[in-house]
């Protein structure tokens, strides 16, 4: 039996050997070398375009299928539980509550029904509130052949099923090994090369080389993610001795930004692989890693930031002032730390997908407008911290305006509104 299996074995081994060699060569030529040199073949864009075409086609088929059966095509847009009407102002809602009965009165009054407004708002927020919604994963608006929502796969047509199967094959058979290889290469190169560069004595050479090394590794990682990044307004690119401020959508943002230029990073110290990478990076270029829960560390960080930007030869610092990950629908309140340093701040807006539109003056509004995101007043730190009473006061202010009216501010000194009450109800003014 042995003579029978040997040639087959040999053949198998040979095939495997050849295919792996071919694979690695292709990889090297088409991906790693361009990454090192910084050119692109445009394959990712082609891939994206193809994918989009497929999704559109699939969506069309689904809609046709649903129309035939006369069903509603369920689109998992929102993960909201309740339908919140467009937020009318407090004044409007209370006027509505009072209805026609208050038209006759000359001055605004308290009505027992006013409480309904606050009551309903309160219960609405118990059932579904804006802030927690922002922190959960955003559901995709179109069925993407690899459903990301809770809802089970419905059989629409054979063609779609076949397409879905093909998608699975390509994803796990071709793309996954490719991406894993690239990611591993990228990260190990980063670790090794930065450590090596860190050993060099000459400071200028070191920073020059470290820049090259960082760029190269980030480019490889970007290819591992199959990311297509478009940079707008390149003339505003952050310069040395400045701080770059961006909104934070995923931990990969760092890679995306760093693909274009070198930044010094500020961030939480991690353990494991991330920790290793952090330690390696620090050897060749200056980064600031700190421990979030240590109060002392925070003051130290502010000082280190200040020292870093003061040195004009050092790279710009990259800061994500929101301090936490948002799910790409809004820009939360910026923490003040990065703006207290007193140097030039370069705002950057990161948005998945669409082109950016405009730039406004103020940094936070600028980023929100640039990315087409919603400008919220919510504090991203809410996830961890308690609430401030100032906002409650605002609600009270608004309501008191409805009750007591605008004239309150002027009449305060001469107490004319007191007299007004007295005229109408002479015996009503009892003081307990």
């Amino acid at each position: 039996m042995s003579w029978f299996t040997l040639p087959v074995d040999n053949l198998l081994c040979r095939c495997l050997g050849i295919s792996i060699t071919v694979w690695l060569t292709l990889l090297f030529v088409f991906i790693i070398v361009p990454a090192v040199l910084g050119v692109s073949f445009g394959m990712r864009r082609l891939y994206m375009r193809t994918l989009l075409m497929i999704f559109e086609w699939a969506m069309l088929r689904m809609e046709m299928g649903a129309k035939e059966k006369n069903q509603e095509l369920y689109k998992p847009y929102s993960n909201g539980i309740i339908a919140k009407e467009p937020p009318a102002s407090l004044q409007q809602e209370i006027q509505e509550l009072r209805g026609s009965s208050s038209c006759l009165r000359s001055e605004p009054e308290f009505e027992m029904a006013d409480i309904f407004y606050f009551c309903r708002r309160g219960v609405e927020s118990i059932v579904d509130d804006e802030v927690t919604k922002r922190f959960s994963a955003q559901e995709l608006e179109s069925w993407n052949l690899l459903t990301r929502s809770n809802y089970n796969f419905r059989h629409i047509s054979l063609r779609l099923t076949v397409l879905w199967g093909l998608g699975v094959l390509i994803r796990y058979g071709v793309l996954l090994p490719l991406r894993v290889t690239l990611a591993v290469t990228g990260i190990s190169l980063l670790l090794v090369l930065t450590t090596l560069v860190g050993c060099l004595p000459n400071r200028e050479l070191r920073s020059y080389l470290s820049e090259k090394v960082h760029l190269m590794c980030y480019r490889i990682c970007v290819r591992a993610l199959t990311a297509i990044i478009t940079y707008h307004n390149r003339e505003n690119k952050p310069q040395n001795g400045g701080i770059c401020v961006a909104n934070h959508t995923t931990p990969i943002d760092v890679i995306i930004l760093a693909n274009d230029g070198c930044y010094s990073l500020v961030g939480q110290v991690h353990g494991g692989l991330m920790g290793m990478i952090q330690r390696a990076m620090v050897k060749s270029s200056p980064h600031i890693w700190f421990e979030r829960s240590e109060v002392k560390d925070r003051h130290l960080v502010a000082k280190r930031l200040g020292d870093h930007v003061a040195d004009k030869t050092k790279q710009p610092i990259l800061v994500f002032p929101e301090g936490t990950c948002i799910n790409n629908t809004s820009v939360m309140m910026f923490k003040k730390g990065s703006f207290e340093i007193g140097c030039t701040v370069y705002p950057v807006a990161i948005k998945e997908g669409e082109d950016a539109v405009q730039f406004a003056n103020r940094v936070k509004a600028a980023i929100a407008a640039q990315g087409g995101l919603v400008d919220l007043i919510w504090d991203g730190g809410l996830k961890r911290a308690k609430v401030k009473d100032a906002f409650k006061e605002e609600q009270q202010k608004l309501y008191s305006k409805v009750l007591v009216g605008q004239q309150d501010q002027e009449d305060q000194e001469d107490h004319s509104d007191d007299k007004h009450f007295e005229d109408e109800n002479p015996d009503a003014h009892k003081k307990n």
Partner: protein
């Protein structure tokens, strides 16, 4: 959160709750997920602190009263059925109910909604809104934006208007009467999606 595949079977007494409150299975499921989300330490019950973590609620001038409404007097925790029963008050009123179930009034009837609002005022649950209780609510809703005198006169006026039997307090019937013209079904309802 995320794509956990919970089903209606995970909820104890689901059918009973649906029958009692009128929520559909889908709504109940969403509420259960919400309940679990609010229940941070996964004890299966909610405490006032769990509600307190919601910013919009903390911002609400009567936020703590609303939280209090979920807890029966003397109880420190609220379980899922009680949670849903309270929320059932806010279901939109069904225009033509043909349900042949028990003859008790549905949770989202006009009277029950009014009763819920009444209890927000009447914290000691003695069936009457006293002048002191009214002042407390007004103070909560207005904060430091008005003077003590203004507050007193507002309260005075409100009692004068609503108090028909002149006992210096507003009973539930007087409360109901003063809100005759208000579209409570709409204002005290929350439209649940799906």
């Amino acid at each position: 959160m995320g794509s956990s595949s919970s089903s209606i079977d995970n909820i104890p007494n689901a059918q009973e709750i649906m029958q009692e409150t009128g929520f559909s299975a889908a709504h109940l499921l969403r509420l259960y997920e919400r309940f679990q989300f609010l229940d941070r330490d996964q004890t299966g019950k909610l405490r006032p602190e769990d509600f307190g973590a919601l910013r919009e609620l903390a911002m609400n001038p009567i936020g703590d009263r609303i939280i209090g409404a979920f807890f029966s007097p003397g109880q420190e925790t609220v379980d899922f059925p009680s949670f849903v029963r309270i929320l059932a008050h806010f279901r939109p009123t069904d225009s033509n109910r043909t349900r042949e179930g028990p003859q008790q009034e549905p949770a989202n009837s006009r009277t029950r909604k009014l009763k819920f609002a009444f209890q927000l005022y009447d914290q000691d649950r003695d069936g009457k809104i006293s002048r002191a209780e009214l002042l407390q609510v007004l103070r909560a809703m207005l904060g430091l934006q008005v003077t003590e005198e203004q507050l007193q006169s507002i309260a005075e006026r409100a009692i004068q208007e609503a108090d028909l039997d002149k006992d210096d307090a507003i009973s539930f019937d007087e409360f109901r009467k003063s809100l005759e013209k208000v579209n409570i079904e709409h204002k005290m309802s929350i439209r649940f999606l799906r």
